[in-house]
């Protein structure tokens, strides 16, 4: 095993641990912070896959902005006692777990993931390569996503500004 493989397993183990903490910790603020740690570790995995741009955006957007707003809301509501979970959640949870198990089983029965699915070179995840494919091959999905986000923002503002 070379150094990068060892690093991968260490970070993956920490990532699994952090993800379990998100689910099992009692205090909601601790859960949110464990999620920040998990997102940060995923960013490190992206950097190891020669995609520093995606890794940094992961930190910038998810860990640095979205989770801060999550914490913001959690601190305002300050939920102390954890409410009993509705029965329906168990159904959804089981369904998601089954789907994940099925896809993992299908993947493993095919002999696991291919050794090198994408030719990961130094420039594979660089800002230039990313921008080129985003603004040439995938410009339509990119624009549709931005319009969708814009609609969501306007919707949120309209809902927030509604007359009582």
């Amino acid at each position: 095993m070379d150094a990068s493989a060892i690093l991968f397993y260490v970070i993956s183990a920490l990532l699994v641990l952090a993800s379990l903490m998100v689910v099992f910790l009692r205090n909601v603020v601790h859960c949110a912070l464990a999620l920040v740690v998990a997102l940060f570790l995923i960013a490190i995995l992206f950097v190891m896959l020669h995609a520093p741009m995606v890794g940094v955006l992961q930190v910038l957007v998810y860990a640095g902005a979205i989770m801060v707003l999550f914490l913001f809301v959690i601190m305002f509501l300050n939920p102390t006692a954890s409410e009993p979970r509705p029965k329906l959640w168990w159904g959804f949870g089981s369904l998601a777990a089954l789907l994940l198990a099925a896809s993992l089983a299908a993947l493993l029965s095919n002999g696991g993931a291919p050794a090198d699915p994408v030719a990961a070179t130094e420039i594979f995840g660089s800002p230039e390569t990313l921008a080129k494919s985003l603004f040439t091959d995938f410009v339509l999905p990119f624009e549709i996503t931005s319009v969708l986000l814009l609609v969501a923002i306007i919707g949120a503002v309209v809902l927030a500004k509604r007359e009582p």
């Binding site: 603020v29 640095g64 660089s126």
Partner: protein
């Protein structure tokens, strides 16, 4: 291999040494400077054996010693682990940003060419923003873990303010990235070594003859972006006029109400380290970084044709000295600002961020794009 790691370690040590010491010195300058502005004497109590003359050195040693010997107070109903983690995060994020800021061009030692920058990332400026966006956790976690309503209010204010100004800060830099066509801070600094007349096409003869002799520094190419960046950077450091998260007269001390001793010192040092980092960014993006006007790798090449050749070590020393002086100037400017203007109201902070800085930054991006296309 070992030599390479050693060189990086030495560079990291030098940068951390400089930033931390500059932060300490700024703490003293802030107290003495405020005293000067308010017609007081200021910090003059730290004397060793009745020798108060060396105020700076005495205060540099006496201040941390005073903090470290004080009681480390943790609120009994607070969260002990997070209460300790918060100041660490605040100081950590303030210190590691400097890793991508170049403090010189290259240093040639024998066969070896050393890039005078701790980490040369091809996503440079994005790293700065990513780490900066993590900086908000220090105050949010600290505020929540203290279990105090004043500190919680400060933390909530801080998170809203920092997220708002991050947007304006990021957009204000886009113009610079478009002009120099790179995200790497070292490349941006190198790009500012040319003259404006070398960047313009033949058709722009009038501009060439009037402002062509100026070095192509960010401030000359993107003056509006600098004003926006400066304002947003001051807001990110959470100092007056943007010190709403602390707001002594409203929130006692905001997010660090419940902090004392060494942990308060870490928040305190983190704030000053942020000032140094902000000054480093302003220097690198808008004031040529380590560039001395007309100084190339082999010496001065003045626009009127004169040439003064210099040895390599002298050039490198001049560049590092120029970078340091520029950083100190912007630190001083931020401290002067802090003692010159009153605090904003909270709604004013939000209005400035979202309704003035953000549209102006977007306008700057559009105008820059049009000008770049027109000049091609």
């Amino acid at each position: 291999m070992i030599v390479d790691i050693g060189i990086v370690a030495v560079k990291a040590f030098l940068v951390l040494f400089m930033v931390l010491n500059l932060a300490g010195i700024l703490g003293w300058i802030e107290r003495k400077g405020s005293a000067l502005i308010q017609d007081r004497i200021g910090a003059n109590r730290a004397s060793v054996l009745g020798f108060a003359g060396m105020g700076l050195v005495n205060t540099l040693v006496a201040d941390p010693l005073k903090f470290l010997t004080k009681e480390d107070f943790v609120p009994s109903q607070g969260d002990k682990f997070l209460h300790t983690l918060a100041p660490c995060m605040a100081l950590f994020t303030a210190l590691v940003t400097f890793a991508v800021i170049p403090f010189g061009d290259i240093l040639v030692l024998g066969e070896r060419v050393i890039n005078l920058q701790v980490a040369n990332l091809n996503i440079g400026i994005l790293y700065v923003f990513a780490i900066g966006s993590l900086g908000v956790y220090g105050i949010v976690i600290g505020a929540w873990a203290s279990n105090n309503k004043f500190s919680l209010l400060g933390g909530v204010r801080g998170s809203a303010q920092m997220i708002s100004y991050e947007v304006a800060m990021g957009l204000s830099v886009i113009g610079i990235l478009m002009v120099f066509g790179t995200l790497e801070l070292q490349e941006i600094a190198r790009g500012q070594g040319t003259l404006i007349r070398d960047m313009l096409p033949e058709s722009a003869g009038f501009l060439k003859s009037t402002i062509g002799w100026l070095p192509a520094w960010g401030i000359f190419l993107q003056p509006l972006a600098f004003l926006l960046f400066f304002t947003a950077a001051v807001a990110e450091t959470k100092r007056i006029p943007f010190d709403l998260p602390e707001g002594e007269s409203e929130l006692v001390a905001g997010y660090h109400v419940e902090y004392s001793g060494g942990k308060f010192l870490m928040f305190f040092a983190g704030e000053f380290a942020e000032i140094v980092t902000a000054a480093g960014l302003m220097t690198t993006l808008f004031f040529g970084g380590w560039q001395v006007p007309y100084l190339m790798r082999d010496g001065f090449h003045f626009p009127w044709g004169e040439t003064v050749l210099l040895p390599h070590l002298a050039v490198t020393a001049l560049q590092v000295a120029a970078f340091t002086l520029k950083v100190i100037f912007f630190c001083w400017l931020q401290i002067l600002l802090r003692w010159s203007v009153p605090r904003f109201r909270y709604d004013q902070v939000m209005r400035l961020g979202w309704k003035m800085l953000l549209p102006l930054a977007l306008l700057n991006v559009i105008v820059t794009a049009i000008v770049i296309i027109a000049l091609q």
